[in-house]
Structures are given as structure tokens and as C-alpha cells.
Amino acid sequence: MEEAPAVIEIQNLDKFFGKFQALNDVSLKVRSGERVVICGPSGSGKSTLIRCINRLEEHSAGRLVVDGIELDDETKNVRAVRMEVGMVFQQFNLFPHLTVLENLTVGPMRVRKISRKEAEARARKFLERVHIPEQAEKYPAQLSGGQQQRVAIARSLCMEPRIMLFDEPTSALDPEMINEVLDVMVELAESGMTMICVTHEMGFARKVADMMVFMEEGRIIESAPPGEFFSSPRSDRCRMFLDQILEH
């Protein structure tokens, strides 16, 4: 089978916050259409790693190439990458002063420079895809957490990105709303989107992941396909971690 080209190439990445090393020699390759799930204990650098991919954090050393564009100090490159990479945050970060529809159109209109009409049509299409077409005129504060997170996913999709990053998208949600968000993410995965998800939802991981990554203390300790990862993790750390989170 012919291998798809790598859309994200991370080589020997280091990240320091002052003296503290949050990422330590991290290398990872993600191919087009691949779904990667990252897990690991709190403070292990999961957020830092995916935030480096769209340069919400600047890496300190190493190389990072996204969709053929090298991420460096070149502002033009950074913006080009951000247009291709969508990001969903734990805290949703919807724009509270804009309606749901405006949240979805502001990016395409201002950044991609498409017309309002086209942007609204696109926004409604993606609201349909995240199953909340009827909420377009509301403000974020009027929606439930699960609905807000789905709007946030739609907002990213409206930029028509090639890659989607998720940073614990369900950790801020009430338990009964987690599945509605995960369902949308599964559908997205099935549509062939390249995805990197930081999550501890192992049911979701088993269902969609092509590759599991376990991080600890800024390093990738283990990366393997889910079958192997869950049945026979090589490191004790990873096994202990899995035992812990699979308990409940």
C-alpha cells in the first residue's frame, strides 16, 4: 500500500518556558487523513505540543513543518499554517459578542475574504453537520456547553482546514453532553479529516485512532496503533496510566 504524504512533521522539538522544559526532543509524523490521539498525565506537555503546531506557542528548538510550510519567525508562514489548521479548545473560546452565525462567518469573511452570502451559506452547512442548524441566531451564552463546543468545531471547519487539532474538547463538559460532541468528532474522522486529539476518552480513541501517543514529562514515551497500544503497552508508565483511566 502506498503511504500518504506526511502533512505534519515534527523533528526533535524542544520547548522551554523560562528554565522549565515542557517539550523534550519530541518527534512525530502525521500523514494525510491520519487520526492521532495523544494522552498522558496532567502537565506532560500535550497542550504545549499541539499548540506548537499552529504556533500558539513558539518552539525553542527543532523543526516543525505543517502542510509543506516550515513554521519559523515568518509571520506569513504562521498565518498560512493557521488557515490550514483548525483548533478546538477545552474552554470553547467562542466570541461572546457575536451570534453563532457571526462566529462562523467572521473568519471566512475577514481572513479568507469570501462574500457574506457565501460565508453564511457555508456556516449553515456546517451547523447542519454539527446538528444545530436551528441555533444560528443565538448568542453563545444562550447555548449549552455541548452545543457551544459543536459551534466551536463548526467555526474551525468553516475555514475549510486540512488538519484539525482538539485540546481536551470534552473535559469542560457535563457528562451527558460529552457524547454529542464525540459523535460529531467521529463523523469528522470518518469524513477523512486529518486529526490530532488530546483526549482521555478512550472509547473514542479506540473507535477512530490510527495512532496512539502517550506523553510524559515532555517526551513521547510510546506511540503505537490502538490495538497494540491498549493490549500490550511496552512501558510501565503507560500501562499504569491506562489502568488508571480505564478503571472508571
Binding site: P96, H97, G107, R110
Partner: protein, 288 residues
């Protein structure tokens, strides 16, 4: 201090219970802060001031000629109605204040953005500017603009006053902008950046619209402040309200009457503005 309004909504019985629950000392404090009490205190203070002025004036043998004042407010001649000198001065004061405030807001925004840019050079430029302006007495700044920069750049006294007021107030305005911008959650920045917005776009479409509600009340306070400090330009004889007052007095020696009138005019204007601010605050509180 518990907020009484929420309790009031429960009805009169709830309100009575709310008062009964407080200690006597607290209750007296609460009554003193109530509306009728503050109006009463206000009237008493005004009464004392007026009474002192009257006795003082009498003691020095001042003859009041209030009947001379209306002609400086408006005149009814054969040619019909005409505004007097004081309203004309007021218009000039308002014109100067509005223009200076607009300029101060523009300058203040630039300084705030420079300061927040995170670049060492622009941050130090902004900080140096702020330190300079903040440590300069307004009067000295005015002289600087009028006697030093005026001749160099060939601008008149009105422009000198305008620039001086704008520069002086831009310092506080920039702090208001900075605080308002910083009050917006960092996540909003990240979300804006993550959909590819430039810093300018993020400010314009995401950050500034959200910081307005934090900035509106202090901004209006600063506008009131500017109207008051605009009186200082009378020292270089720009024909605004205070200068007009001085001119009338030198012609007529009506010093008590004129200064009372001028003070009242300033007060009416700034009080109206404060009422407007309260209205805006309420409106924004409902909208968000």
C-alpha cells in the same frame, strides 16, 4: 454592603425583613446612603456654601448685581434673539473638548497598542511617553506647546491648547484601553489567531468590541475630566468659557456673580454627561 435592589424586587415585606436583619449601625449607614438622604446632604452642603458666600460678600460690602447676568446668557434686541457671551464660550469649550478628546482617544489607543505589542522598542517608546506626560503639570505642558512648539511648528493658540489637552489626557486614556484590552480573556486571542486572523483583525473584530463595556465608564469619566481641565487654556487666552468669564469680569467687576454662573454651567454640563454615562452603563449591562 449587600445589594438592596435584588431584595427590593421581592416586595415590600422582603425589604422590611432586609432592613430588620441589619444591625442599628449598619441600618443608619444604609439610610444615609439612600437617595433622599443623599439629596438632603447635598442641599445642606449647597446651603452652607451659598450662606458663607453671602455673609462673606456682605462683610466686605459687596453689592450683588445679579440682574446684570442675563444679558451675558442671551439678549432680546430689536433684531430678535441672540445668544450671550457665556453660551458662545460654552460652545467653544465643548468644541475644544470634543476635538481634544477624539484626538486623545486616537493617541491613547496607539500608545496602548504600542505598549501591548510585546516588542521592546515600541514598549519603551510608549512607556517613555507615558512617564513624560504623567510627570508634567498640565500648565507646564500648555506653556511648552504654546511658547515652544507653537513658534517652531507655527500653530496658533487654539491648536496649541487642543494638542496639549489631547496629549495630557491620552496618557490616562491609554491606560483605560490597556486595562480594557487585558480584561478580555486570553482564550479570545487564541481563538482569533487560530482561525488565521492577524493581530489587527483580532483587535478590530474580536478584542476591542468586547473591551468596550469595560472601557465605557472610565472613558466617560475621563471626558468629564477633560472638560474641566480645558479651563486651563484661559491662561493663553483661548476664547472659551473661563476666558469669557475673566473678560466679562474685567469689564464689569461682577466677579462673584460671573464665577458662580460659570461654575454652574460647568456643573450642568458634567452632570448631564454623568447621567448619560449611567444610562449607557445600564444599557450595556442589559445587553450582555
Amino acid at each position: 454592603m449587600p445589594n438592596p435592589t435584588s431584595t427590593v424586587q421581592e416586595g415590600a415585606s422582603g425589604y422590611a425583613r432586609f432592613l430588620a436583619q441589619m444591625s442599628t449601625g449598619k441600618r443608619i449607614g444604609f439610610y444615609l446612603k439612600s437617595k433622599p438622604a443623599s439629596v438632603a446632604v447635598y442641599l445642606i452642603v449647597i446651603y452652607i456654601i451659598v450662606q458663607t458666600a453671602l455673609t462673606g460678600a456682605e462683610a466686605m460690602g459687596y453689592t450683588w448685581r445679579w440682574y446684570r447676568i442675563p444679558e451675558y446668557l442671551f439678549q432680546l434686541t430689536d433684531e430678535g434673539f441672540q445668544w450671550g457671551e457665556i453660551p458662545i464660550g460654552l460652545v467653544k469649550t465643548l468644541q475644544l473638548s470634543i476635538q481634544a478628546f477624539a484626538l486623545a482617544v486616537l493617541l491613547g489607543l496607539c500608545i496602548a497598542l504600542l505598549r501591548l505589542s510585546g516588542l521592546l522598542i515600541s514598549t519603551s517608546v510608549a512607556v517613555a511617553y507615558l512617564e513624560f506626560v504623567r510627570n508634567m503639570p498640565l500648565l507646564v505642558l500648555l506653556y511648552l506647546f504654546y511658547y515652544v512648539l507653537g513658534p517652531i511648528f507655527k500653530f496658533d493658540r487654539y491648536t496649541a491648547s487642543l494638542l496639549c489637552l489631547a496629549v495630557f489626557h491620552s496618557a490616562l486614556v491609554s491606560e483605560i484601553f490597556r486595562a480594557g484590552i487585558n480584561a478580555v480573556n486570553i482564550g479570545q486571542w487564541e481563538a482569533a489567531k487560530s482561525i488565521g486572523m492577524s493581530s489587527a483583525q483580532a483587535y478590530r473584530y474580536i478584542i476591542l468590541p468586547q473591551s468596550i463595556k469595560f472601557m465605557l465608564p472610565p472613558m466617560m469619566g475621563e471626558a468629564v475630566h477633560l472638560i474641566k481641565s480645558s479651563a486651563i487654556v484661559s491662561v493663553i487666552a483661548v476664547a472659551e468659557l473661563t476666558t469669557i468669564g475673566r473678560n466679562i469680569i474685567s469689564d464689569t467687576y461682577l466677579s462673584f456673580e460671573i464665577w458662580f454662573t460659570i461654575a454652574a454651567v460647568y456643573m450642568v454640563v458634567t452632570l448631564l454627561l454623568s447621567v448619560f454615562v449611567t444610562f449607557l452603563e445600564k444599557k450595556y449591562a442589559v445587553a450582555t
